[in-house]
Symmetry: C2
Subunit: 166 residues, 2 copies
């Protein structure tokens, strides 16, 4: 229902720590948008047509995994308040269950690791596990993301990363 993104507090690399957790708002998956996204980017019968989807391995209309991924990004932008934005370098993605029309999705994220940059002392890479859940608690996507994060500006001596804090 609530597609609004809250304005978050801004976090720099120094503010992050392993096991830090973030929870997103909600995103409602509408059938029309599922079909329109699929028509543009993933035009396969099980994403476009209910009858065809019933006969497929999905046993009913399912959103494209890339639609689930895009919605997850929307929720992450509102819930991982990194100062320079969510600059994703990539990661490992999986869709254990399909997203369905009417699903209410949210994302629970946890920092797994913080890796200092050797060449660029003002930045680092944060490994974050982002689980996308539906209203029943099913995991519809697991994404372990590598995200570029910057240090607070104007602190040139702060060249050593804190490995953890709390």
């Amino acid at each position: 229902m609530d597609q609004k993104i809250e304005v978050p507090t801004t976090l720099y690399l120094e503010d992050l720590y392993v096991h830090q957790r973030f929870t997103s708002g909600l995103y409602h998956m509408e059938e029309d948008r599922i079909k329109a996204f699929a028509a543009e980017f993933d035009p396969q019968p099980f994403h476009l047509d209910e009858a065809a989807a019933q006969r497929s391995v999905f046993h009913g209309l399912a959103a494209s995994g890339w639609h689930t991924a895009a919605v997850t990004m929307r929720l992450l932008v509102g819930s991982l308040p990194f100062a320079s934005g969510m600059i994703g370098l990539g990661g490992e993605i999986a869709w254990p269950k399909p997203t369905r029309p009417g699903d209410e999705l949210h994302v629970e994220s946890e920092i797994l690791e913080i890796v200092a940059s050797r060449s660029k002392p003002n930045q680092g890479v944060v490994i974050v596990r982002c689980i996308t859940l539906n209203q029943k608690g099913d995991h519809v996507q697991a994404f372990t993301a590598k995200i570029l994060v910057f240090k607070r500006p104007g602190d040139p001596n702060n060249a050593v990363l804190k490995p953890s804090a709390s």
Copy 2:
């Protein structure tokens, strides 16, 4: 320019082999669509506004990585002609360079591995490396995908996978 998808020949699991390659058609990245996709799914300044993007690590307007991923899927649907469709279980994704307005993307795919299902003799998982390139040959996305593929129906005795063929 050419957003059309060619109708492919249908391939079953028995038709696939390691090192088999597929090349997609072209997809033109339009600035308006880059901004609209970002406004819906990845509302960050460097995907929405040229001036803000110039000041960011991207040094110019860049498409959301998830837009590049969605376009890659569109190109894969037209170029990996698996009989039951492109049913992706997940994979490893990376964006070595940003996608820019005006880019002409295509995808080059290669089968790396074919894994038989132990529990379901009529299906298997195919590992495919899908590289998305721009008109200069830069790699804008690397996706190593796990794709569910079915065997040809009506051949119940064909329970052993060919590891390779050509």
